[in-house]
Every structure is written in C-alpha cells, then in structure tokens.
C-alpha cells in the first residue's frame, strides 16, 4: 500500500529548482509567470524550491556559459533521484543566437541527459506547463524503475 501511495504521489507533486545558466532573464520571468494566478501551475502541484536537495525537476535556462557550466553540473548532481532535467528556451538546447561564441559551453545535452526540451525564445507559458507536465510523467516512470 505504501509503495502504491508513493507511486501515485510521485506524479502529483513535482517540485522545481531553477538554474540560470547565463540566461537573458526572459525565460526566468516567464517561468515565474507560470506560477501566477493566470496560469497557476500550483494546481498541478508545482512548487519552486530554494534548494536542489528538495527538487524533482531541474529547469535550466540560458545558453550554459563556460563560467556557469561547472556550477550547473554540480548543482544538478546534488538533486536526489529520481530527477528530471528540463531545458527551457532555445539557449540550453542549441545555444540560440550565442551559438559559436567563445564564452558558451552549451548545449547542455553534451554533459547530462536532458529529459525534456521546451523550445522558444521565450517559450509560451502554456508550452512550459506542457513541458513540465511531460517531465512529471517521466519522473513517475523513473520512480517506477528505481524499485
């Protein structure tokens, strides 16, 4: 019974940790707007946490600059299993307009396995919610594989 409860609950309470890997702040603002009254992601159980240790889903924004790479990877490694990594915006996927710059170490998928990519510059809140919901499903699956 206990196991079932855990399995049921894993998909219903995804907590987010947001990492800014050199973002222009556009995606960051948009992520916050997802939690505002208009879109209210909290109805799906989403919550922003202050520490990676509490998180289930890591949302990375920004093109992963050379300066931030080390910090991003360290922080991601500190998130307990099961965890999902979501990239938000085009930057962490492809480098976007910064592609080819000497200061960019991205895309993120070169370093860690990325579960969901939400494209756009910036993505619409609906798209973000959709991506997060997808990540939540993957999260529940990963939890099932842990047993």
């Amino acid at each position: 019974m206990f196991k079932n409860l855990i399995k049921e609950s894993t998909g219903k309470s995804p907590w987010l940790f947001h990492i800014n890997a050199g973002s222009c702040n556009g995606c960051d603002i948009e992520l916050v707007s997802v939690l505002t009254p208009r879109y209210d992601a909290e109805r799906l159980g989403f919550k922003l946490t202050g520490s990676p240790r509490h998180a289930d889903i890591v949302v990375v924004t920004g093109p992963v600059t050379a300066q931030s790479l080390d910090r991003v990877l360290r922080t991601i490694s500190q998130v307990p299993e099961p965890r999902c990594i979501v990239t938000m915006g085009s930057c962490p996927q492809s480098g976007n307009v910064f592609r080819g710059s000497y200061a960019i170490a991205g895309p993120l998928s070169k370093y860690v396995h990325v579960d969901v990519d939400v494209a756009g510059c910036t993505p619409k809140p609906e798209a973000v919610i959709d991506g997060l919901a997808l990540a939540t499903k993957i999260l529940a699956e990963k939890r099932g594989q842990m047993e």
């Binding site: 990492i19 080390d70 991003v72 990877l73 360290r74 922080t75 490694s77 500190q78």
Partner: protein
C-alpha cells in the same frame, strides 16, 4: 567515644582533604602516590558525607561536634564547633561529589602540565576550604575557611600562568576577593563585639532580640562578603576572567562549589542569624539581586565569544535563579532554590568538563576558531548536549525540574501575597531560560556542528578518565531530572525544612532549652508546605516519547528511511550546496549569531560593553559602591 561514630564524620570529611593536601606536598613527586592520595581523599570525604544522609536527611537529626569536646558552658560557646543540619549536609554532599568527579577528570586532564603536585595540593585545599565553610558552626571559622578557599582559588586561577590573561585574572580575583573577605572579617568583628560569641547557634539566638545599628551594619558587611564569593552582580566580571584562565577542572570547582559556598553563607546569614523569613524588605532585596544577576549575566553571556567565559556568565545567571528562589522565603521557593543549586553544580560541572575536553584536544576555547568537532569527539558532544539541554531547561533534564519549581514558587508567591512584583520574577526567569537556550545553541553550532577547520582534522576523542567523569555527571543530570519527587523528598525538602527549624539548630549547638530561655519568641517550626500547582511527570512523558519514537522508527525502517545514500566529499553529489560554487570553508557561528536579537538590544549591549572595562580599579570601585548601597539599605530600610 567510638572513633567511627557518626559524630565524627563531619570533621573526618574535612580532615581527609587537608591531610591529602599535606601528604601530596611531602610525597607528591610520584605520580601514583599523588593520584591515589587525591582520589582516596576526595572519595573518602564523599563517603563520610553520604554516611550522614540517613540520620540527618531522613531522621532530621542535627549533628554537633565540638573540637576537643569543649562543649558550651555557662551559656557561652567557647569551643570550635561543627554543626551539620540538613542544609549543611546538602551543600556538603554537593561539594564532595563534584570534587570527587573533578579529581577523576584532573588525572588525565592535567597530565601535560608542569608542577602537578602543587595543583593537587591547592585543589584539595580549595575543596577542604569549601567543606569546612559549609559544615562549620562558627562564624570566625567560616571566615578562615573562606580565606583558605579564596587563596587556593586565586592560586589555581593563575596556575597556568603561561596562558594570556591568567595572571591578570588572578590579580583581579585577588583584589576583589580580598575586599569580600575583609568584609566578612569586619562583619564578624562587629558581631563579636556586640554579642561576645562567634558560635552560629548562639548568635542566631541573640541577634533577633538585639537588632541595633551595628548588627545591621554587620549584616551588610557579611552579605556583601558572601556575594563576592558567589560572584553575584556586581562581582560577575571576576568570574568570567577567572574561569577563562583557570584549568577546566578548577572552573568546575569555582562555579559548582565556590559559588555555592556564597549562597550557603547568604542563606545562613539571612534566615538563621537574622531570621528574616517573613521580612518583605529582605525578600525584595534578595529577589531583586537574584533577578538582576540572572538577567544581566545571561545577556553578558550572549555577547561572549569564548566558550569558558560564556559558561562563567551562565554560572552566575543560574546562581541568580537560586538566590531569587531562596529569597521568596517560601518553603517551595527554598526547596526549589537549593534544588537548582544542586542541578547547577551538576550540569555546569558537566559543561565545564566538556569545555575542558575541547581545550585539551584543540588548545583553544575561542568560538570563532572552532567548529564541526562532533565528528571527531562524539562522546564529548553527547555529554555537552545533555548539559546544554539541562541548563536551558529542556524537559526532561534536571534543569527543567528545578526551574519549573522556581516558576511555580514565584508565581504562587505573587498570587498569595497579591504582589505583582513577584510576577516579574517569574517572567524574568522564563525569559532568561530561553536566552540561555539561545546561547547554548550558539555554542553547539560554533563548536560541535558546522564545518571542521583544517587544523583540527587530527583531533581525537578525550581519554577514558575524562569521559568517565563527564559520564557520571551526565547520568546525574538525567536521573535527577527524571525523578524530581525523590530528589525533593530526600534531599531538598529536608534542607528547606532545616531553614525553618532555627530553634532546633540553636538548641543543638547550645544545649536543649537554650533558645527558649534567651529568645522572646522562638521561631515556630511550623510544618512547611511544599504543594505544587503544576503538573509534570517526566517518567510518563519519557515513556510516551519512547513509544512514539519506537512506532516512528518501525514505520521509518519499513519505509527504508534508514537506507540513505552516503558518499565521499570528493563526489560533488555529497558536497554541501553553496549555490553551485565549489565548497570552501565557511563556518557560521561565534558571537554574532543572534544578530536579529542583538540588533534590537544594541543600546543595552553597547552600554554593557562600556561598563565592563576590564580594569580592576573599576571593579574594586563597584565592590565599594555595592557595600555602600547594601549598608544604606540595611540601615534605612531593613
């Protein structure tokens, strides 16, 4: 007379200590000899005291011993007497037990020092001085013993004279301590000139009928004298310096034993010699002094950044509790006060031993330099936590049991006398208790938790002897907290009753019928009431907590709570979260931890900072001012 009759036990328990001191001077070169002599002497002293529990505590006897069998004749007590009633025995038991534990601790703690034989000599002199002071039945003898213990304590404060500030601390202590001793001598002289006797029993019989200006002056002198011994405000800066410099085992004696002798002196003086049990002005005087001491010293402690200095201020804060409770002049108040005195001796002893253990291993007690020792010294950490919980009044440890009685006693007194002033004592005591907790959270975080500095990576746990000494006191902390009913019934209530039976004390010293023949009204030994309105049964609570914890543990293990993921610090996953940065040494601790609190009290703290200049002239001046105020109060108000 049989040499082993109970009559002789008090003198034996003092004598063995002084004899031990003498033997160590002569034969102390050998390690084995000095250790065994010191241990035997302190242990014997403790056993002699314990032998008296049955007749004195349970049987209510008062044991009088006259040196050379010179019993009083013709209504005058010329001989030197020891008078052991339940109050004396209570303090005697406390003293001898803690001295024994401190002696066990000393063996390994002092192993790296020079001049160890001198240390043990002075140690036993100090112990013997306090024992003599609490068991004697003679005012002049009391002065002699106070002198012995003061000078032994001064010498021991300066014992590690290579430590910065040790000599300065000893000098301050010497100056102000001498002022105190002089006051006691002067008070004794004034009383002797008036009453032509020095026996405490006879003085107690004569003084209430002859309250003149000079006896009141003597009261003020003696009172201030005993206050310096208990380090009450305004004598508190001495204690901080002395504790900071002295070896930890001596700090245990200074805080646990020496201050108790001051409290004992004050109780004897106010309730026996001057029999001011029902006197409202006296109650105000004691309670006010106690409350001020407890509050001022706890705030001073919050501002400290040295482990031992912090403990020193707490020690006076706790003495403030004792004095405020005793000053309530109710049976419950006195019982609560002496209970807290006992508990303070135990938990403060434990805390000083833990501080000593930290000093022994790391070489410093600076809160800003320490950190993360719990992984290297787990036993010390647990012992410290027990002591810290006890002093902060966390149930179910002993500090809570006695503080709980103090809250009730002061609140009951307020309600019974319909005096809202006593309510302030309750509130002050409760707030002080929380502030105490705050400052021990600071120590816990700064010394035992948080991050381990690089230079202490090779620190080890302290040796067995030191752990044993801490273990004994920690066990006492828990036991006396769990069974407050038994402690009060067998130890503190007899002691509190003894305070009420002044007539019996006089008659025991001077022969039956003396009190009735001299005094117009012999204080009636009404059966004091120890009714408590509060409800607290620690054992049942602990049982419930254990059941709850057990249930939780069963659930938790079935939910794989215990299967945690552990790893080395080289793996980034197991490093601390620094917002993504690489780990670096960052210890949050030391004196500015409670910024939110101190910011609001910044004017008070800066005022206190200005006031405590650290100059001995100032402190001597404070002593003189205190004496003047006490004299004024005694002459005008009392």
């Amino acid at each position: 007379m049989n040499m082993l009759s109970l009559q002789h036990f008090p003198i034996y328990s003092i004598m063995v200590l002084f004899l031990g001191a003498f033997l160590i001077v002569v034969f102390g070169r050998s390690k084995v000899v000095r250790h065994s002599v010191a241990l035997l002497a302190t242990c014997a002293s403790m056993l002699f005291m314990m032998g008296l529990i049955k007749p004195v505590m349970l049987g209510g006897e008062i044991i009088s011993y006259w040196m050379g069998a010179r019993v009083p004749a013709g209504g005058y007590a010329i001989g030197i007497a020891l008078e052991v009633d339940a109050l004396s025995l209570f303090f005697g038991l406390l003293v001898s037990t803690v001295v024994f534990v401190a002696c066990i601790y000393s063996i390994q703690y002092m192993s790296h020092d020079d001049n160890v034989p001198q240390y043990y000599t002075l140690f036993l002199m100090l112990a013997g001085g306090v024992m003599g002071m609490v068991l004697t039945g003679d005012l002049f003898n009391m002065f002699i013993m106070v002198e012995i213990l003061t000078f032994a304590a001064v010498a021991l404060t300066a014992f590690r004279n290579t430590v910065t500030g040790a000599l300065e601390a000893a000098f301050k202590y010497l100056v102000v301590g001498s002022i105190g001793s002089t006051c006691i001598l002067a008070g004794t002289i004034v009383l002797y000139a008036q009453m032509h006797t020095l026996n405490l029993g006879q003085l107690a019989a004569l003084i209430p009928g002859n309250l003149t200006t000079s006896t009141k002056l003597a009261f003020a002198l003696l009172f201030i004298g005993f206050c310096t011994k208990a380090f009450l405000v305004p004598f508190h800066p001495l204690a901080a310096d002395a504790h900071g410099a002295a070896p930890a085992s001596i700090s245990v004696l200074i805080s646990g034993v020496l201050t108790k002798s001051g409290i004992y002196g004050i109780i004897r003086l106010t309730y026996f010699l001057f029999q001011s049990m029902g006197l409202g002005t006296m109650q105000f005087w004691l309670v006010f002094l106690g409350s001020v001491s407890m509050f001022v010293c706890v705030t001073m402690a919050l501002a400290q950044h040295d482990f031992k200095r912090l403990l020193a201020f707490h020690s006076i804060s706790q003495i403030g509790y004792v004095l405020a409770a005793v000053g309530l002049s109710t049976a419950l108040g006195i019982s609560a006060g002496v209970y807290h005195a006992m508990n303070h001796t135990i938990f403060k002893g434990l805390l000083f031993l833990a501080a000593g253990a930290v000093l022994h291993e790391t070489g410093t007690t600076d809160l800003g330099k320490l950190g993360g020792l719990s992984k290297k010294m787990p036993v010390t950490t647990v012992m410290f936590l027990v002591g810290a919980a006890a002093i902060s009044g966390i149930p179910p440890f002993n500090g809570f049991a006695s503080k709980w009685m103090i809250y009730q006693a002061s609140y009951q007194k307020a309600v019974e006398s319909n005096n809202i002033g006593f309510l302030a004592v309750t509130i002050c005591a409760l707030v002080t208790s929380t502030l105490t907790l705050a400052s021990f959270v600071k120590v816990t975080q700064s010394v035992f938790f948080g991050q381990l500095p690089k230079e202490y990576e090779n620190v080890k746990e302290v040796p067995f002897g030191m752990r044993l000494a801490m273990g004994i006191l920690a066990a006492l902390c828990i036991v006396t907290g769990l069974v407050p009913n038994y402690v009060t019934r067998f130890l503190t209530e007899p002691a509190a009753k003894a305070v009420y039976h002044v007539g019996a004390y006089i008659n025991s010293a001077m022969g039956a019928g003396y009190a009735e023949s001299v005094m117009q009204t012999v204080p009636v030994a009404a059966e004091p009431s120890f009714v408590q309105h509060g409800v607290w049964s620690p054992v049942s609570w602990l049982c419930l907590l254990m059941i709850a914890l057990l249930a939780l543990t069963v659930v938790a293990t079935s939910a794989k709570y215990d299967k945690v993921s552990l790893g080395e610090a080289t793996d980034t996953k197991y490093q601390l979260f620094y917002g993504g940065e690489k780990n670096f040494y960052s210890q949050v601790g030391s004196d500015d931890l409670f910024w939110g609190f101190k910011h609001n009290w910044r004017h008070y703290f800066s005022f206190m900072h200005e006031l405590h200049s650290g100059v001995v002239n100032d402190y001597a001046l404070w002593a003189v001012v205190a004496l003047a105020l006490a004299t004024l109060y005694a002459l005008v108000v009392l």
